[in-house]
Protein backbone atom coordinates (compact mmCIF):
# COMPACT_ATOMS: atom_id res chain seq x y z
CA UNK A 1 0.00 0.00 0.00
CA UNK A 2 1.27 3.45 -0.86
CA UNK A 3 -0.75 6.50 0.02
CA UNK A 4 -0.38 9.43 -2.30
CA UNK A 5 -2.17 12.49 -3.50
CA UNK A 6 -2.97 14.01 -6.86
CA UNK A 7 -3.81 17.70 -7.04
CA UNK A 8 -5.37 19.16 -10.16
CA UNK A 9 -3.72 22.52 -10.80
CA UNK A 10 -6.32 23.19 -13.50
CA UNK A 11 -9.11 23.04 -10.94
CA UNK A 12 -7.46 24.61 -7.89
CA UNK A 13 -8.53 28.22 -7.35
CA UNK A 14 -6.26 28.91 -4.38
CA UNK A 15 -9.06 29.51 -1.87
CA UNK A 16 -6.91 28.15 0.98
CA UNK A 17 -9.79 26.14 2.37
CA UNK A 18 -7.38 23.19 2.67
CA UNK A 19 -5.06 25.34 4.79
CA UNK A 20 -7.80 26.32 7.21
CA UNK A 21 -9.24 22.80 7.33
CA UNK A 22 -5.81 21.41 8.26
CA UNK A 23 -5.26 24.02 10.94
CA UNK A 24 -8.67 23.22 12.45
CA UNK A 25 -8.48 19.45 12.15
CA UNK A 26 -4.97 19.14 13.54
CA UNK A 27 -5.06 22.01 16.06
CA UNK A 28 -2.08 23.57 14.29
CA UNK A 29 -0.74 26.30 16.62
CA UNK A 30 -1.64 29.86 15.77
CA UNK A 31 0.67 31.40 13.19
CA UNK A 32 1.81 28.06 11.72
CA UNK A 33 0.67 26.12 8.68
CA UNK A 34 1.19 22.51 7.60
CA UNK A 35 -0.06 23.22 4.08
CA UNK A 36 -0.04 26.31 1.94
CA UNK A 37 -0.94 27.69 -1.48
CA UNK A 38 1.80 28.48 -3.98
CA UNK A 39 1.26 30.32 -7.23
CA UNK A 40 3.53 30.34 -10.24
CA UNK A 41 3.08 33.11 -12.78
CA UNK A 42 4.98 32.56 -15.99
CA UNK A 43 5.15 34.21 -19.39
CA UNK A 44 5.13 37.85 -20.37
CA UNK A 45 2.12 40.14 -20.33
CA UNK A 46 -0.36 39.69 -21.92
CA UNK A 47 0.57 36.03 -22.35
CA UNK A 48 0.59 35.10 -18.71
CA UNK A 49 -0.07 31.72 -17.26
CA UNK A 50 -1.04 31.10 -13.67
CA UNK A 51 -0.60 27.81 -11.87
CA UNK A 52 -2.00 27.37 -8.38
CA UNK A 53 -0.90 24.53 -6.14
CA UNK A 54 -1.89 23.39 -2.70
CA UNK A 55 1.40 22.21 -1.15
CA UNK A 56 2.37 20.18 1.90
CA UNK A 57 4.77 17.41 2.96
CA UNK A 58 5.31 15.17 -0.05
CA UNK A 59 5.57 11.95 1.98
CA UNK A 60 8.57 11.05 -0.15
CA UNK A 61 9.73 7.55 -1.00
CA UNK A 62 13.33 8.55 -0.36
CA UNK A 63 13.00 10.49 2.88
CA UNK A 64 15.94 12.76 3.82
CA UNK A 65 14.10 13.77 7.01
CA UNK A 66 13.95 10.18 8.25
CA UNK A 67 17.53 9.54 7.19
CA UNK A 68 18.98 12.53 9.08
CA UNK A 69 16.89 12.14 12.24
CA UNK A 70 19.35 11.20 15.02
CA UNK A 71 16.79 9.61 17.34
CA UNK A 72 14.40 7.83 15.00
CA UNK A 73 11.53 10.17 15.92
CA UNK A 74 10.91 10.80 12.22
CA UNK A 75 9.75 7.56 10.69
CA UNK A 76 7.63 6.00 7.98
CA UNK A 77 4.43 4.20 8.90
CA UNK A 78 2.24 1.88 6.86
CA UNK A 79 1.28 3.34 3.52
CA UNK A 80 4.47 5.41 3.28
CA UNK A 81 3.21 8.17 5.56
CA UNK A 82 6.07 10.06 7.20
CA UNK A 83 5.36 11.11 10.77
CA UNK A 84 7.17 12.35 13.88
CA UNK A 85 6.82 10.91 17.37
CA UNK A 86 6.87 14.01 19.62
CA UNK A 87 8.13 12.03 22.63
CA UNK A 88 11.25 10.95 20.74
CA UNK A 89 11.99 14.29 19.08
CA UNK A 90 14.70 16.44 20.64
CA UNK A 91 14.08 19.42 18.36
CA UNK A 92 17.55 19.44 16.80
CA UNK A 93 16.31 20.76 13.46
CA UNK A 94 18.06 18.16 11.29
CA UNK A 95 14.86 17.07 9.53
CA UNK A 96 13.85 20.68 8.95
CA UNK A 97 17.22 21.39 7.32
CA UNK A 98 16.94 18.26 5.20
CA UNK A 99 13.52 18.93 3.68
CA UNK A 100 13.74 20.55 0.23
CA UNK A 101 10.06 21.54 0.52
CA UNK A 102 10.44 23.31 3.88
CA UNK A 103 7.35 21.36 4.90
CA UNK A 104 8.37 20.98 8.52
CA UNK A 105 8.49 23.40 11.41
CA UNK A 106 9.13 23.28 15.14
CA UNK A 107 5.97 23.11 17.21
CA UNK A 108 6.00 25.65 20.07
CA UNK A 109 6.12 22.63 22.40
CA UNK A 110 9.58 21.84 21.04
CA UNK A 111 9.24 19.06 18.50
CA UNK A 112 9.27 18.91 14.71
CA UNK A 113 5.89 18.55 13.11
CA UNK A 114 4.26 18.62 9.68
CA UNK A 115 1.48 17.18 7.53
CA UNK A 116 0.56 13.63 8.58
CA UNK A 117 -1.81 12.95 5.66
CA UNK A 118 -4.32 13.04 8.57
CA UNK A 119 -3.32 9.48 9.45
CA UNK A 120 -5.91 9.49 12.25
CA UNK A 121 -8.64 10.01 9.63
CA UNK A 122 -7.11 7.77 6.98
CA UNK A 123 -7.03 4.89 9.49
CA UNK A 124 -10.82 5.12 9.66
CA UNK A 125 -11.21 5.15 5.91
CA UNK A 126 -11.74 8.90 5.66
CA UNK A 127 -9.91 11.34 3.40
CA UNK A 128 -7.44 13.84 4.87
CA UNK A 129 -9.14 17.05 6.05
CA UNK A 130 -7.75 19.14 3.20
CA UNK A 131 -9.06 16.73 0.57
CA UNK A 132 -12.48 16.41 2.16
CA UNK A 133 -13.16 20.15 2.26
CA UNK A 134 -11.85 21.14 -1.17
CA UNK A 135 -14.75 23.01 -2.83
CA UNK A 136 -13.50 22.36 -6.38
CA UNK A 137 -12.69 18.68 -5.73
CA UNK A 138 -9.23 19.24 -7.10
CA UNK A 139 -7.53 16.81 -4.71
CA UNK A 140 -7.49 13.02 -4.87
CA UNK A 141 -6.19 10.85 -2.08
CA UNK A 142 -5.77 7.11 -1.96
CA UNK A 143 -3.62 4.05 -2.51
CA UNK A 144 -1.30 4.51 -5.48
CA UNK A 145 -0.52 0.79 -5.49
CA UNK A 146 -4.16 -0.09 -6.11
CA UNK A 147 -4.74 0.39 -9.86
CA UNK A 148 -8.48 0.78 -9.26
CA UNK A 149 -8.21 3.65 -6.80
CA UNK A 150 -9.27 7.06 -8.01
CA UNK A 151 -5.85 8.58 -7.41
CA UNK A 152 -3.99 5.80 -9.24
CA UNK A 153 -6.35 6.10 -12.19
CA UNK A 154 -5.99 9.86 -12.51
CA UNK A 155 -2.20 9.72 -12.15
CA UNK A 156 -2.15 7.07 -14.90
CA UNK A 157 -4.41 9.08 -17.20
CA UNK A 158 -3.30 12.67 -16.77
CA UNK A 159 -0.04 14.50 -17.35
CA UNK A 160 1.62 15.37 -14.06
CA UNK A 161 4.69 16.81 -12.38
CA UNK A 162 6.19 16.56 -8.92
CA UNK A 163 8.01 19.28 -6.98
CA UNK A 164 11.81 19.45 -7.12
CA UNK A 165 12.32 15.91 -8.47
CA UNK A 166 16.02 16.83 -8.83
CA UNK A 167 16.30 16.81 -5.03
CA UNK A 168 16.07 13.02 -5.31
CA UNK A 169 13.32 12.57 -2.76
CA UNK A 170 10.75 10.80 -4.98
CA UNK A 171 7.80 12.86 -3.75
CA UNK A 172 4.36 11.25 -3.72
CA UNK A 173 2.17 14.25 -4.37
CA UNK A 174 1.38 14.52 -8.05
CA UNK A 175 0.40 17.86 -9.54
CA UNK A 176 -1.84 17.36 -12.55
CA UNK A 177 -0.97 19.90 -15.23
Amino acid sequence: MRYGMAIDTKKCVGCADCVVACQTENSVPHGYARDWIAETVSGRYPYLELEIRSERCNHCDNTPCVRTCPTGASHVIEGGIVIVTPEECIGCGACIESCPYDARFTHPDGYATKCTFCDHRVKNGQDPACVSVCPTHCMYFGDLDDPNSEVAKIVARRKWKVLAPEAGTQPQIYYLV
Partner: protein, 338 residues
Protein backbone atom coordinates in the same frame (compact mmCIF):
# COMPACT_ATOMS: atom_id res chain seq x y z
CA UNK B 1 9.26 35.72 -16.57
CA UNK B 2 8.58 33.19 -13.88
CA UNK B 3 7.49 34.19 -10.43
CA UNK B 4 6.71 31.84 -7.57
CA UNK B 5 4.75 33.02 -4.56
CA UNK B 6 3.22 31.49 -1.48
CA UNK B 7 -0.14 33.23 -1.35
CA UNK B 8 -1.72 31.67 1.71
CA UNK B 9 0.67 33.72 3.87
CA UNK B 10 2.69 30.82 5.25
CA UNK B 11 4.88 32.40 7.90
CA UNK B 12 6.12 29.48 9.99
CA UNK B 13 8.59 30.84 12.55
CA UNK B 14 12.24 29.97 11.70
CA UNK B 15 11.17 28.68 8.28
CA UNK B 16 9.82 31.73 6.47
CA UNK B 17 10.77 33.95 4.79
CA UNK B 18 14.25 32.41 4.96
CA UNK B 19 15.13 29.25 6.82
CA UNK B 20 17.08 29.97 10.00
CA UNK B 21 16.38 27.02 12.24
CA UNK B 22 20.08 26.91 13.12
CA UNK B 23 21.36 30.14 14.59
CA UNK B 24 24.63 30.83 16.43
CA UNK B 25 24.74 27.58 18.39
CA UNK B 26 25.52 25.19 15.53
CA UNK B 27 28.36 27.21 13.90
CA UNK B 28 29.89 27.87 17.33
CA UNK B 29 29.78 24.15 18.05
CA UNK B 30 31.25 23.32 14.62
CA UNK B 31 34.15 25.64 15.41
CA UNK B 32 34.75 24.33 18.93
CA UNK B 33 34.39 20.73 17.80
CA UNK B 34 36.89 21.26 14.99
CA UNK B 35 39.32 22.99 17.35
CA UNK B 36 39.07 20.20 19.92
CA UNK B 37 39.47 17.56 17.21
CA UNK B 38 42.62 19.28 15.95
CA UNK B 39 44.15 19.66 19.41
CA UNK B 40 43.51 16.01 20.25
CA UNK B 41 44.85 14.94 16.87
CA UNK B 42 48.19 16.68 17.38
CA UNK B 43 48.46 15.47 20.99
CA UNK B 44 47.80 11.88 19.91
CA UNK B 45 50.04 12.10 16.86
CA UNK B 46 53.11 13.26 18.78
CA UNK B 47 52.44 10.71 21.52
CA UNK B 48 52.30 7.87 19.03
CA UNK B 49 55.47 9.06 17.32
CA UNK B 50 57.16 9.23 20.74
CA UNK B 51 57.96 12.94 20.73
CA UNK B 52 56.08 13.87 23.89
CA UNK B 53 58.92 15.93 25.32
CA UNK B 54 59.89 17.66 22.11
CA UNK B 55 56.29 18.81 21.56
CA UNK B 56 55.31 19.36 25.16
CA UNK B 57 52.76 22.08 24.45
CA UNK B 58 51.01 20.03 21.80
CA UNK B 59 50.90 16.85 23.88
CA UNK B 60 50.37 18.16 27.39
CA UNK B 61 49.35 21.80 27.58
CA UNK B 62 47.19 22.61 24.55
CA UNK B 63 44.88 19.59 25.05
CA UNK B 64 43.61 21.26 28.23
CA UNK B 65 41.57 23.45 25.90
CA UNK B 66 39.99 20.42 24.18
CA UNK B 67 37.59 19.26 26.93
CA UNK B 68 36.70 22.88 27.67
CA UNK B 69 35.90 23.45 24.00
CA UNK B 70 33.93 20.19 23.82
CA UNK B 71 31.90 21.03 26.91
CA UNK B 72 31.16 24.56 25.67
CA UNK B 73 30.27 23.08 22.29
CA UNK B 74 27.95 20.55 23.89
CA UNK B 75 26.28 23.35 25.82
CA UNK B 76 25.76 25.25 22.57
CA UNK B 77 24.27 22.09 21.03
CA UNK B 78 21.97 21.69 23.98
CA UNK B 79 20.81 25.29 23.60
CA UNK B 80 20.08 24.57 19.95
CA UNK B 81 17.65 21.80 20.86
CA UNK B 82 14.04 22.87 21.09
CA UNK B 83 13.36 19.93 23.40
CA UNK B 84 16.61 20.00 25.44
CA UNK B 85 15.27 17.85 28.27
CA UNK B 86 14.96 14.99 25.75
CA UNK B 87 18.61 15.10 24.63
CA UNK B 88 19.18 11.62 26.09
CA UNK B 89 17.07 10.23 23.27
CA UNK B 90 20.27 10.57 21.20
CA UNK B 91 21.80 7.80 23.30
CA UNK B 92 18.92 5.37 23.16
CA UNK B 93 19.58 4.51 19.54
CA UNK B 94 22.36 4.32 16.98
CA UNK B 95 21.32 5.52 13.56
CA UNK B 96 24.21 5.10 11.17
CA UNK B 97 22.37 6.93 8.40
CA UNK B 98 22.17 10.08 10.49
CA UNK B 99 25.44 12.02 10.82
CA UNK B 100 24.06 13.75 13.89
CA UNK B 101 23.59 10.39 15.58
CA UNK B 102 27.13 9.14 15.11
CA UNK B 103 28.38 12.64 15.88
CA UNK B 104 26.59 12.45 19.20
CA UNK B 105 28.14 9.06 19.91
CA UNK B 106 31.61 10.27 18.88
CA UNK B 107 31.26 13.24 21.22
CA UNK B 108 30.10 10.89 23.93
CA UNK B 109 33.37 8.96 23.54
CA UNK B 110 35.72 11.88 22.90
CA UNK B 111 34.59 14.04 25.82
CA UNK B 112 35.55 11.61 28.64
CA UNK B 113 38.70 10.53 26.79
CA UNK B 114 39.89 14.12 26.45
CA UNK B 115 39.20 14.77 30.14
CA UNK B 116 41.21 11.69 31.14
CA UNK B 117 44.03 12.76 28.82
CA UNK B 118 44.20 16.21 30.41
CA UNK B 119 43.86 15.08 33.99
CA UNK B 120 46.74 12.59 33.82
CA UNK B 121 48.98 15.36 32.52
CA UNK B 122 47.95 17.93 35.11
CA UNK B 123 50.12 16.46 37.84
CA UNK B 124 53.15 16.88 35.66
CA UNK B 125 52.32 20.43 34.62
CA UNK B 126 51.02 21.71 37.95
CA UNK B 127 52.40 19.43 40.71
CA UNK B 128 51.38 22.01 43.30
CA UNK B 129 49.95 25.47 42.97
CA UNK B 130 48.57 28.23 45.12
CA UNK B 131 44.86 28.75 44.76
CA UNK B 132 43.64 32.20 45.73
CA UNK B 133 39.91 31.74 45.25
CA UNK B 134 38.63 30.01 48.40
CA UNK B 135 35.57 28.55 46.65
CA UNK B 136 37.57 26.90 43.87
CA UNK B 137 40.13 25.69 46.40
CA UNK B 138 37.39 24.10 48.47
CA UNK B 139 36.11 22.34 45.35
CA UNK B 140 39.59 21.17 44.39
CA UNK B 141 40.50 19.78 47.78
CA UNK B 142 37.40 17.63 47.64
CA UNK B 143 39.26 15.43 45.15
CA UNK B 144 42.94 16.32 45.56
CA UNK B 145 45.23 16.81 48.53
CA UNK B 146 46.28 19.98 50.26
CA UNK B 147 50.02 20.54 50.81
CA UNK B 148 51.42 21.63 54.15
CA UNK B 149 52.05 25.20 53.04
CA UNK B 150 48.41 25.68 52.01
CA UNK B 151 48.96 25.08 48.29
CA UNK B 152 46.86 22.62 46.38
CA UNK B 153 48.81 19.51 45.51
CA UNK B 154 47.81 17.52 42.45
CA UNK B 155 47.54 14.20 44.21
CA UNK B 156 44.30 12.26 44.26
CA UNK B 157 42.66 11.78 47.61
CA UNK B 158 41.36 8.32 46.85
CA UNK B 159 43.41 5.29 46.12
CA UNK B 160 41.28 4.01 43.27
CA UNK B 161 41.86 7.27 41.39
CA UNK B 162 45.60 6.98 41.94
CA UNK B 163 45.50 3.43 40.64
CA UNK B 164 43.42 4.46 37.66
CA UNK B 165 45.85 7.28 36.92
CA UNK B 166 48.80 4.90 36.98
CA UNK B 167 46.97 2.50 34.70
CA UNK B 168 46.11 5.27 32.23
CA UNK B 169 49.65 6.62 32.15
CA UNK B 170 50.84 3.15 31.14
CA UNK B 171 48.20 2.99 28.41
CA UNK B 172 49.09 6.35 26.88
CA UNK B 173 49.94 5.05 23.42
CA UNK B 174 46.84 2.86 22.93
CA UNK B 175 44.82 5.78 24.25
CA UNK B 176 46.47 8.04 21.70
CA UNK B 177 45.51 5.62 18.93
CA UNK B 178 41.88 5.73 20.02
CA UNK B 179 42.07 9.49 20.28
CA UNK B 180 43.58 10.03 16.85
CA UNK B 181 40.80 8.01 15.20
CA UNK B 182 38.06 9.71 17.19
CA UNK B 183 39.59 13.15 16.57
CA UNK B 184 39.57 12.56 12.82
CA UNK B 185 35.95 11.38 12.94
CA UNK B 186 35.00 14.42 15.03
CA UNK B 187 36.80 16.79 12.66
CA UNK B 188 35.23 15.32 9.54
CA UNK B 189 31.86 15.10 11.25
CA UNK B 190 31.65 18.87 11.68
CA UNK B 191 31.62 19.11 7.88
CA UNK B 192 29.57 15.99 7.15
CA UNK B 193 26.85 17.26 9.47
CA UNK B 194 26.16 19.99 6.93
CA UNK B 195 26.97 18.12 3.73
CA UNK B 196 24.41 15.40 4.51
CA UNK B 197 21.59 17.84 3.81
CA UNK B 198 20.93 17.68 0.11
CA UNK B 199 18.06 20.14 0.53
CA UNK B 200 20.62 22.95 1.10
CA UNK B 201 22.65 23.05 -2.11
CA UNK B 202 25.56 25.07 -0.67
CA UNK B 203 26.23 22.38 1.93
CA UNK B 204 25.59 19.45 -0.33
CA UNK B 205 29.17 18.79 -1.36
CA UNK B 206 31.38 16.00 -0.10
CA UNK B 207 34.37 18.36 0.03
CA UNK B 208 32.94 19.97 3.16
CA UNK B 209 34.13 17.08 5.36
CA UNK B 210 37.84 17.35 4.46
CA UNK B 211 37.56 21.14 4.32
CA UNK B 212 36.21 21.46 7.86
CA UNK B 213 38.72 18.89 9.09
CA UNK B 214 41.59 20.91 7.58
CA UNK B 215 40.20 24.11 9.02
CA UNK B 216 39.86 22.48 12.45
CA UNK B 217 43.45 21.20 12.33
CA UNK B 218 44.60 24.65 11.25
CA UNK B 219 42.86 26.40 14.16
CA UNK B 220 44.39 23.82 16.52
CA UNK B 221 47.87 24.36 15.08
CA UNK B 222 47.40 28.09 15.56
CA UNK B 223 46.38 27.56 19.18
CA UNK B 224 49.43 25.37 19.89
CA UNK B 225 51.64 27.95 18.16
CA UNK B 226 50.13 30.64 20.35
CA UNK B 227 50.56 28.69 23.60
CA UNK B 228 54.01 27.30 22.95
CA UNK B 229 56.99 28.94 24.60
CA UNK B 230 59.46 26.71 22.83
CA UNK B 231 60.93 28.32 19.71
CA UNK B 232 61.44 25.06 17.84
CA UNK B 233 57.91 23.83 18.54
CA UNK B 234 56.48 27.17 17.48
CA UNK B 235 58.34 27.11 14.18
CA UNK B 236 57.19 23.57 13.45
CA UNK B 237 53.55 24.43 14.14
CA UNK B 238 53.86 27.60 12.13
CA UNK B 239 55.02 25.46 9.19
CA UNK B 240 52.26 22.89 9.75
CA UNK B 241 49.74 25.70 9.83
CA UNK B 242 51.09 27.20 6.63
CA UNK B 243 50.67 23.85 4.94
CA UNK B 244 47.13 23.49 6.28
CA UNK B 245 46.21 26.99 5.10
CA UNK B 246 47.45 26.11 1.63
CA UNK B 247 45.36 22.94 1.62
CA UNK B 248 42.36 24.88 2.85
CA UNK B 249 42.65 27.51 0.12
CA UNK B 250 42.97 24.70 -2.39
CA UNK B 251 39.86 22.97 -1.02
CA UNK B 252 37.85 26.21 -0.96
CA UNK B 253 38.69 26.90 -4.59
CA UNK B 254 37.61 23.35 -5.40
CA UNK B 255 34.38 23.88 -3.50
CA UNK B 256 33.64 26.95 -5.61
CA UNK B 257 34.73 25.32 -8.88
CA UNK B 258 32.75 22.18 -8.19
CA UNK B 259 29.61 24.14 -7.42
CA UNK B 260 29.97 26.34 -10.48
CA UNK B 261 30.14 23.17 -12.56
CA UNK B 262 27.09 21.78 -10.76
CA UNK B 263 23.35 22.02 -11.20
CA UNK B 264 21.40 25.27 -11.30
CA UNK B 265 20.66 25.26 -7.56
CA UNK B 266 24.35 24.79 -6.76
CA UNK B 267 25.39 27.58 -9.10
CA UNK B 268 22.89 29.88 -7.41
CA UNK B 269 24.13 28.70 -4.01
CA UNK B 270 27.81 29.40 -4.62
CA UNK B 271 26.99 32.77 -6.14
CA UNK B 272 26.18 33.88 -2.60
CA UNK B 273 29.93 33.69 -1.96
CA UNK B 274 31.18 35.13 -5.24
CA UNK B 275 29.01 38.15 -5.89
CA UNK B 276 25.95 37.65 -3.70
CA UNK B 277 24.87 38.41 -0.18
CA UNK B 278 27.75 36.75 1.68
CA UNK B 279 30.61 37.80 -0.61
CA UNK B 280 32.03 40.62 1.50
CA UNK B 281 31.76 38.71 4.77
CA UNK B 282 33.32 35.60 3.24
CA UNK B 283 36.23 37.22 1.42
CA UNK B 284 37.20 39.66 4.16
CA UNK B 285 36.85 37.40 7.18
CA UNK B 286 37.61 33.95 5.83
CA UNK B 287 39.89 34.34 2.84
CA UNK B 288 41.83 37.55 3.52
CA UNK B 289 41.91 37.92 7.33
CA UNK B 290 41.54 34.24 8.16
CA UNK B 291 43.85 32.63 5.61
CA UNK B 292 45.92 34.91 3.38
CA UNK B 293 47.11 37.47 5.96
CA UNK B 294 48.17 34.87 8.58
CA UNK B 295 49.87 32.87 5.81
CA UNK B 296 51.87 35.95 4.77
CA UNK B 297 52.75 36.69 8.40
CA UNK B 298 53.91 33.11 8.93
CA UNK B 299 56.04 33.22 5.79
CA UNK B 300 57.58 36.49 7.00
CA UNK B 301 58.35 34.83 10.31
CA UNK B 302 60.09 31.98 8.53
CA UNK B 303 62.31 34.61 6.94
CA UNK B 304 63.25 35.83 10.44
CA UNK B 305 60.99 38.86 10.54
CA UNK B 306 59.64 39.55 13.99
CA UNK B 307 55.90 38.91 14.01
CA UNK B 308 54.00 38.72 17.32
CA UNK B 309 52.68 35.14 17.35
CA UNK B 310 49.30 36.25 18.70
CA UNK B 311 48.43 38.06 15.47
CA UNK B 312 48.44 35.18 12.97
CA UNK B 313 47.09 32.80 15.62
CA UNK B 314 44.15 35.03 16.45
CA UNK B 315 43.41 35.68 12.78
CA UNK B 316 43.31 31.96 12.01
CA UNK B 317 40.93 31.30 14.89
CA UNK B 318 38.78 34.23 13.79
CA UNK B 319 38.74 33.00 10.20
CA UNK B 320 37.78 29.50 11.32
CA UNK B 321 34.91 30.79 13.43
CA UNK B 322 33.63 33.09 10.70
CA UNK B 323 33.87 30.32 8.12
CA UNK B 324 31.46 28.18 10.16
CA UNK B 325 29.08 31.07 10.71
CA UNK B 326 29.04 32.07 7.05
CA UNK B 327 28.61 28.51 5.79
CA UNK B 328 25.78 27.81 8.23
CA UNK B 329 23.95 31.04 7.45
CA UNK B 330 24.51 31.02 3.70
CA UNK B 331 23.58 27.35 3.42
CA UNK B 332 20.19 27.99 4.95
CA UNK B 333 19.48 30.66 2.35
CA UNK B 334 19.95 28.15 -0.47
CA UNK B 335 17.04 25.96 -1.50
CA UNK B 336 15.30 24.16 -4.32
CA UNK B 337 11.92 25.87 -4.48
CA UNK B 338 10.52 29.41 -4.66
Amino acid sequence: MREELITSSRMNPHIDPVLHIWEWQIPLYLFLGGLAAGLLFFAAYYTISGKTEKYRTAVKIAPIIAPIAIILGLMALLLDLKHPAYFWQLYTTIRLESPMSWGAWTLGAVAPLSIVWVVVNLKEIFPAFGCKVPFIKRLLIMVIKEADNGDVKWDWKWEFLQKFEKFVIKQRVPMAWAMIVLALILGVYTGILLSAFNARPLWNTSILGPLFLTSGLSTAAATIMWLSKDHHERTIFSKIDLMLITIELFLISHLIMGMLAGSEVQIQAVELLIGGEFTVAFWTNVIVLGLVVPAILEILELFKFKVPVAVPAFLILWGGLMFRFIMTDAGQVTRYLY
